[in-house]
């Protein structure tokens, strides 16, 4: 039986626990769905689907606002219904969504994909709607003690967010949905305990068992996948090889790691084509394929016998070993271990290797199969392992190295569906590069190799500009022209060598001879002559490749643009140009010519004005504030690409951010304005300060999430890992804000005088953090890991605690003033603008840098200050307010 409960008047502990656990279950579901997308298809779509699913809160708010009376009368039934639906919906909708997978790479070319994407949105939206309905009704019923409910909501979300990360050790991604299901079950049982509803307990336990049974039993019975991994993910290809065997598998918050063996796996990243004619014995069956979240492969290399290592010479990462004999070597990122193997087999007397992913280190250190295959490379006496980011180690160590290597660490660089992810690449920033340069012995060499598979070139130009900028920061920036040697291979790799005391002419000659032997292209060396007259034409040709506006060239006759239009090669009459000195014509590749010109202007000045400003893509350097090999489309050109998206398929990750922002804004405004349209003259007519209140909750929604998401990117600086950073941030922010919410109750009566101080303090702290937190985080990053997490939490505490005040103070005030509709509406505004804020962060970060993100958050709180007074306006007597919308 059900007992009557007054949620405004001392509800039981089990009620608060229920709110915390169900709210936590919603967070856990978000994280779980993102993991499903990361492993099955594309992480960016996971974020998109989850962001939009969070509009469940907006929709609930709008509906409840319009139908408040009904919800007040039927609140117990509404909560019960929402609760009982939430769990089963998670399981069923997730399974259903897995049966309609969509593929990012066909999104534009295949009309069916749009509908599949829509189906995914709708399916994943359903459970969030149920969860939001539960919270909405509970908030409505407890509005006078909102601080405490909100405390339970935030702290529950924070702790459950952490618990789902721990659950990643126990559940593989295809079963991770069990984590939110368990949290929901616990929250549901506690709800019925609080309500004294024993039958409810029995029902929800039964529903939970049934849901779990469906998740585990339905897929094998119906022959459907639990998690559908796209055929286009790297691991799907490996699984199809006839002799493929999975030799290692481990799920953890650091990714779902799999290792496959197959004779069909071949790695030699960037190998010179000339190896074919000069290497007597290429190793066979020498590799395992390493996949993280189904992405890859990164090659794991066997401990090769001496007669199979000569091909190392043909890899671009071999360059520094030409000049350095018996070096003390530092490998910035272990990855699959190829750089470490090359270092060991090329005569290094000692190799220090760093790896920031603990799951990788565990695999290579503990798995018997991997240890045997790699000759136990990480336990080799000549190898020292640093178990955090190489960038952080190098910045803090007093050790000096003859060679520092950062080569193709991430993956085999095969075509990745959907293109670049917007992820922080702190190992490639100007700050990191200058740290590597400073950690070199006087004659030491930094060698950085990157994939050069873009045409027009993008990543490599950023790398070139970043490395020159870093070199100018080191040793007074003297003689930079003497310190670089750069080669590339068309549509393969580019390697930049930096020698701290400069290359001698003999060294340049030796390197040039090697480059010739490899058939690589020289891009820069001290003394290289470059014909700058090509620049203008190349830049305009690259522009025309996307934005040609003239008449189409007539292939049968000369056109204005291309007089005597040359026939394509292979066609009769294709030109062959021999050089003046009689050497055979070198392949004329515009990307290579542009690379040489880039270096000419980088070294001699004029890069920005002559090249970067006129180039079709953005080539800004990577810094700790903008650590992205992504967002190459200049913001001004965005709209121009909308009808030619297939030309920039590798930019879809970035374009998707804009699409998300656009969709989120439309959704949010619709939901926010819905109650207004329905009830401006009726429901809201008595409420003064509508516009101000809306602005207030808009600012809080935007501000909070912007700071949270922006800080996740910042904190990777110290924590080296996106997953850990996200978990620390989610947990820290929500728990500390929950505490703030709890404490805010004490100041409720003095809110008018107290809250302005809070807003000013938040603004001041955030503004300070925006510009200084990097220094703190850089230092924290050099400390032991547990201490790093503790100090990060400490840094988070002041702003997060204070940011817990404004929302519950205003909500409780609305509740106590009897502005019930506005209470619900405000909650919806906050939710909707959280989605917009989350979508805004990566755009602001890529366009203006991470400090700008935190500053935007800071200003949101500053703007909320005056708007707060609108919230405090009391209800007008009905007689005076009817039919007259009041100004804020």
């Amino acid at each position: 039986m059900t007992v009557s409960v007054d949620l405004d008047n001392r509800p039981s502990l089990s009620f608060y626990l229920s709110v915390g656990l169900v709210a936590g279950s919603i967070i856990a579901l978000q994280i779980g769905i993102m993991r499903v997308f990361s492993v099955g298809s594309w992480a960016h779509f996971g974020s998109l689907v989850v962001s939009l699913a969070m509009f469940g809160f907006g929709l609930t708010s709008a509906v409840m606002c319009v139908g408040k009376g009904w919800f007040e009368r039927h609140w117990e039934g509404a909560v019960k219904g929402a609760l009982l639906a939430f769990g089963p919906l998670m399981v069923v909708c997730n399974l259903a969504a897995q049966q309609v997978p969509f593929n990012a790479i066909f999104l534009i070319s295949d009309p069916m994909q749009k509908w599949r994407l829509l189906a995914n949105f709708v399916l994943y939206f359903m459970p969030f709607l149920a969860g939001a309905l539960y919270l909405g009704v509970v908030f409505l019923k407890a509005q006078k003690t909102f601080n405490r409910v909100y405390f339970a909501d935030l702290v529950g979300s924070g702790l459950c967010g952490l618990s789902v990360l721990l659950a990643m050790y126990f559940f593989k991604p295809d079963d991770l949905i069990m984590a939110p299901l368990l949290l929901w079950l616990a929250g549901g049982v506690l709800w019925f305990v609080a309500m004294g509803d024993r039958r409810g307990i029995a029902v929800i336990v039964g529903v939970a068992v049934l849901s779990a049974a469906v998740h585990y039993a339905a897929p094998p019975l119906l022959g459907i996948p639990k998690l559908s991994v796209s055929d286009y993910k790297g691991v799907s290809y490996a699984r199809k090889f006839p002799d493929a065997q999975r030799t290692y598998e481990r799920a953890s918050p650091f990714g779902y790691l799999e290792v496959y063996s197959s004779s069909y796996l071949h790695f030699a990243p960037g190998q010179s084509d000339n190896a074919a004619f000069n290497v007597k014995k290429m190793p066979e069956n020498a590799y395992l394929g390493l996949y993280i979240d189904s992405e890859g492969p990164a090659g794991v290399i066997k401990d090769l016998p001496a007669d199979e290592t000569p091909y190392f010479r043909y890899l671009p990462m071999f360059y520094p070993y030409l000049l350095k004999k018996d070096p003390n070597t530092f490998v910035v990122q272990f990855g699959g271990g190829i750089s470490t193997a090359v270092a060991l087999k090329s005569g290094s007397r000692h190799v220090t290797v760093a790896e920031g992913n603990p799951a990788l280190l565990t695999a290579f250190r503990e798995d018997r199969g991997l240890r045997a295959f790699t000759g136990d490379v990480l336990n080799n006496p000549k190898v020292t392992v640093i178990d955090y980011d190489g960038r952080l180690y190098v910045a803090g160590t007093k050790n000096r190295y003859d060679i520092i290597d950062l080569s193709l660490a991430d993956s085999a660089g095969l075509s990745s569906p959907g293109g670049f992810s917007i992820v922080e690449k702190y190992s490639y920033t100007r700050e990191a590069m200058s740290a590597y340069m400073r950690a070199l012995t006087p004659g030491g060499i930094l060698s950085v190799t990157l994939w050069n598979k873009e045409e027009p070139p993008k990543s490599v130009l950023k790398l070139y500009a970043t490395m020159v900028a870093a070199a100018r920061d080191v040793d007074g920036g003297k003689d930079v022209a003497q310190k670089f040697y750069v080669v590339s291979s068309y549509l393969s790799t580019a390697t930049v060598l930096y020698k701290r005391d400069g290359f001698t002419p003999q060294e340049v000659a030796e390197l040039n001879a090697h480059t010739k032997a490899m058939s690589f292209d020289e891009i820069y060396y001290p003394g290289l002559k470059v014909d700058t007259s090509d620049l203008k034409q190349i830049l305009s040709d690259y522009h025309d490749q996307f934005f040609f506006t003239g008449e189409q060239a007539d292939p049968t006759g000369p056109s204005e643009k291309e007089p005597n239009d040359k026939p394509p090669p292979g066609a009769p009459g294709a030109p062959t140009e021999a050089k003046a000195d009689g050497t055979p014509p070198t392949a004329k590749v515009p990307a290579t010519v542009l690379g040489r010109l880039a270096w000419h202007y980088l070294i001699n000045g004029g890069w920005q004005k002559e090249v970067a400003d006129n180039y079709v893509f953005d080539t800004r350097i990577l810094t700790n504030h903008q650590p992205y090999f992504a967002a190459y489309i200049k913001v001004g050109d965005l709209l121009k690409f909308t009808d030619r998206l297939e030309l920039v398929q590798d930019e879809w990750g970035y374009l998707l951010l804009w699409a998300t922002l656009g969709i989120a804004t439309i959704f949010a405004l619709t939901l926010v304005l819905l109650p207004v349209i329905f009830g401006w003259r009726t429901i809201f007519s008595r409420y003064p300060g509508k516009a101000g209140t809306m602005l207030y909750f808009l600012c809080l929604g935007l501000g909070y999430i912007i700071v949270e998401v922006g800080m996740i990117s910042h904190f990777i600086l110290a924590l080296s890992n996106a997953t850990v950073s996200a978990s620390v941030l989610i947990t820290g922010m929500l728990v500390f804000s929950g505490c703030g919410s709890f404490f805010s109750e004490r100041y409720l009566d003095r809110a008018r005088t107290f809250m302005p101080k809070v807003f000013l303090a938040i603004f001041a702290i955030l503004a300070l953090y925006a510009f200084t937190i990097d220094y703190a985080l850089d230092w924290i990053g050099t400390l032991p890991y547990a201490l790093r997490i503790a100090l990060c939490m400490l840094l988070l505490f002041p702003p997060a605690f204070l940011m817990g005040f404004p929302m519950p103070t205003a909500m409780t005030t609305l509740g106590r003033l009897g502005k019930d509709h506005m209470f619900l509406w405000a909650w919806g505004i906050n939710g909707c603008f959280s989605v917009i804020g989350a979508a805004l962060v990566p755009i602001v970060a890529t366009s203006f840098g991470l400090p700008a993100v935190v500053l935007v958050g800071a200003f949101a709180y500053l703007i909320a200050l005056p708007a707060f007074f609108s919230v405090l306006m009391p209800l007008q007597p009905q007689a005076t307010g009817v039919g007259r919308p009041s100004a804020a």
Binding site: D231, N274, A276, S416, P569, G570, V589
Partner: protein
């Protein structure tokens, strides 16, 4: 949709024979002197119908041919003939939805994580390697089979290797079905289900090699099996945004072998020209979205 279009479209789908048993010869068998007209759409369709093909797809083939010409994706007479003789629709007969999109400027999903490249990039690659009759051509990555189908119109010696065994079997069966139907040019294609990394040593050396699979380096065995003076083309990058790498192998007077990497257009950056969209048998819009 016009009823006539609908009826012939349905007939075409039926002819593609989803799940149907082997078809009796209905196509005029191949010979090297088959020469489809290139003057007008009507003449081409009439000629194709006389060979036994479907007029709707013939119309789409002609329209796409016009777009290829405009964009300089085909320019040689032999490649043009190969394009006009190749029924792309047969190679896209994976499902009804894919089948009807055979001539779109788009890469199509043919299962197994493999795409059938669009006609523009295929035309360009085919033309660039400039296959002469009698030359040996090796393709790594059979996929839908359409690339080798073009080659089969250029030389009697086409070899193709597919790494995914069930896909290799499916495409082999398709070639057999088409040969039975009368497309005897596909007898020029030798197929093999194997790891293409090691090439086809028994048939080596090759004059031209096409590699259509993701690689982090050019497989040395393929470079070894390429004749001196031969050409290799490799599409690099994600489908839809692929750039074609051309590797040339040359032997110096002293016998030394060198390779060079080139842009497919030899240093010329090709301006973007909006493609025409085929809507049924009509050209609609300026760009295929």
């Amino acid at each position: 949709m016009k009823r006539r279009t609908f009826v012939s479209g349905t007939a075409a789908l039926a002819a593609a024979g989803f799940g149907s048993p082997a078809v009796a010869a209905s196509i005029k068998p191949y010979s090297w002197d088959l020469n489809p007209p290139t003057d007008t759409r009507e003449n081409f369709i009439a000629w194709g119908k006389a060979r036994g093909e479907d007029s709707v797809f013939l119309g789409q083939r002609w329209d796409r041919f016009q777009a290829l010409l405009k964009n300089k994706d085909v320019w040689g007479a032999a490649t043009i003939r190969a394009f006009l003789l190749t029924p792309r629709e047969e190679f896209a007969s994976i499902s009804a939805a894919i089948h009807k999109r055979a001539y779109e400027h788009a890469f199509l999903d043919i299962g197994y994580g493999v795409t059938m490249s669009g006609p523009h990039i295929q035309g360009r690659m085919t033309n660039v390697i400039d296959v002469k009759r009698g030359e040996k051509v090796l393709e790594i990555g059979t996929g839908s089979g359409v690339q080798s189908a073009y080659i089969a119109n250029l030389t009697e010696n086409a070899y193709t290797i597919e790494i995914i065994a069930p896909l290799a079997a499916r495409t082999r069966a398709l070639y057999d079905k088409l040969i039975d139907k009368g497309y005897t040019e596909y007898k020029h294609i030798k197929t093999k289900a194997a790891d293409g990394y090691y090439g086809w040593e028994q048939a080596a050396p090759f004059d031209k090699i096409i590699v259509t699979c993701g690689i982090d380096h050019v497989p040395p065995p393929l470079l070894q099996q390429l004749k001196a003076g031969g050409l290799m083309v490799i599409p690099v990058g994600p489908p839809g945004a692929q750039r074609v790498l051309k590797v040339a192998k040359t032997q110096g007077a002293d016998g030394s072998i060198t390779t060079s990497r080139e842009d497919i257009y030899g240093g010329k950056i090709v301006p973007f020209v909006p493609f025409t969209k085929l809507d049924g048998d009509k050209i609609a819009g300026t760009h295929n979205r």
